[in-house]
Symmetry: C2
Subunit: 346 residues, 2 copies
């Protein structure tokens, strides 16, 4: 089968590799319909973080189940599914508490490989999210929105959930990448009244407003803090940190009112931080890896199916697997907000 | 009037000072009935943190209002009140959100001075908490419990509230000082099922169990983490950090299950911390200065009046103002959990 392979910083290729097979009784073999490139893929594509070369990559997909292991009883061959980047078992303390991104029964050997024709997905019984019907029952736009449920929409939702966004809140969203834009959608879905998107790129500002943002703040650092304070008087009720850079986290802490919670999903680029800024203003810091399956099953799948949210609009360019290098480059050069990979009809 | 005066590390004296007067229209003049010494007073008493000398001190008291400023309409002369260490205005964004410890209309010139015969308390209209009846209507034990509503009980409650302790939770309480012990009370009040108190002093272990702790862990650091994991399997649902030392905060983060929140009220002795330990296990960090008036009015005063909680038991030694030095020494030498100061009949 064809699969995207990372050959080194700035170099993606499509190789013919062996088709995966069921290895564990908890596995499912999935024929991929659509996959995509994640902002976090750019860390190793750009050479900023290390990654082994000559490996298959990608961690977002939807597809149709071809075969399941003996312990997979809730998912059957022929099922159309979201394949989250997480692999929750559904019964450990973390999954039961709604944090399946930190499942205490982690799986090995299935990291990545979603940018391919087939995927072996383990902890399939609970981790996969069944979509009603078949791919052909959905429009192009709907398929794109369903694809976002494998990571980006759920990750944006995690930022809003851990920031404890509630009805009537004023929210600041740090980051105008696909995750930040999904954070805007999530804030609106949870009832936020005012959503301030921190964005300096015109295409992203436009999409943020379409998704429900009420204000745009293009500044960064202290200027951004000043602008938010002018808009809100006393700071936001909740802050979504969807970047992970030191300056962005610092700004996130400063734009909240006393008692606000910063929900962060941007992978932290610096571990150490001065937490006195949190303590003396009662600012909370929460977040981490999204609980994809939980959010999909609880709220996001229904919201997409009902047309209440349209996160698939973050895909502004589409490619096939043979043009994987172009798909990465478009995101690297910011000519696409997020790159879609159309793999098969299912 | 008599007042406790800080003369330098290890040296407290009682001086005759001028009786305070109403200075602002938002002030109330209070005749103190009982006051006490706080664990945080030991930071400057021990010379660990700096503080001006020759100043009146103390920030916890109950008393009877003698006079009020022209803008104080909800509190009248003769009212028996809790005088919180906080001074919430009741109408700013922080107070309205339930974080009056971070009131955005801060007052100046009234910091400390509660360990005295009279106190000028500003932002009195909302900040003070009215107690039904008069001091003579209450038993000795009840007066002690009412006194804890000025700080220690509300601070312990803030740890539990920001750790988001809910019914059925397994909770770890770091710190067996008076605040930690009140954290045990607060956890039980919020419905925790299992409360693990980290304590290595027999008198405090005994009180923790009396207040509702179900388990005692005397170890510290990695040994403590191991012990909690043996008890819980996967970590606690919520963690109360009532110490503030680097090791204690570090342990607090490690004993939570994925998604747990650490509610901290121990004043941080080190600002920088590695927050990757939070992110990659979805551990939340919240807390800060307690919302004393909010908690007193919402839940704590009623709980004390109904006899549901008896936080006054943290006072294990009593003194009069003339023996202020002994009161501090008893806490410094750990011969008292918390030192009570009996000032007047009201």
């Amino acid at each position: 089968m064809k699969a995207a392979v990372f050959m080194g910083p700035g170099k993606m290729e499509v190789h013919e590799v062996e088709k995966p097979q069921i290895e564990k009784p908890t596995d499912a073999l999935i024929k991929i319909v659509r996959a995509c490139v994640c902002g976090s893929d750019l860390w190793w594509y750009r050479g900023i973080s290390k990654r082994d070369t000559n490996v298959t990559v990608g961690h977002e997909a939807i597809g149709v189940v071809e075969e399941v292991g003996s312990e997979v009883t809730d998912i059957k061959p022929g099922d159309f599914v979201v394949a989250p980047f997480t692999h929750g078992c559904g019964h450990c303390a973390a999954c039961l508490a709604g944090f399946d991104g930190d499942c205490l029964n982690p799986v090995s050997g299935t990291k990545g490989g979603y940018q391919a024709e087939y995927l072996r997905y383990t902890n399939a019984n609970w981790g996969l999210v069944k979509i009603p019907g078949q791919p052909k029952d959905y429009s192009d736009a709907q398929l794109n929105s369903l694809l976002t449920l494998s990571d980006v929409m759920a990750t944006g939702y995690h930022a809003a959930a851990t920031a404890e966004v509630k009805k009537g809140d004023t929210v600041v969203v740090m980051g105008d990448g696909a995750v930040g834009l999904c954070g805007v959608i999530a804030s609106k879905l949870r009832g936020a009244k005012r959503i301030i998107a921190m964005s300096r790129h015109e295409d992203r500002q436009k999409l943020a407003l379409e998704f429900g943002a009420t204000d745009i703040v293009p500044e960064r650092g202290d200027e951004a803090v000043k602008h938010v304070m002018e808009l809100t008087g006393t700071g936001a009720d909740a802050v979504l940190e969807c970047v992970g850079m030191e300056q962005s986290v610092d700004t996130a802490v400063k734009v909240g009112r006393p008692g606000a919670v910063v929900g962060r999903v941007g992978i932290p680029q610096k571990a150490d931080m001065n937490t006195n800024n949190l303590f003396f203003r009662n600012i909370g810091l929460r977040g981490g890896i999204a609980a994809v399956t939980t959010y999909d099953k609880e709220i996001l799948l229904d919201a997409v199916l009902a047309g209440k949210i349209n996160p698939g609009k973050v895909f502004t360019k589409r490619f096939d697997l043979d043009h994987i290098e172009d798909a990465y480059e478009a995101m690297d050069k910011r000519t696409a907000i997020k790159s879609l990979l159309v793999i098969s009809e299912g």
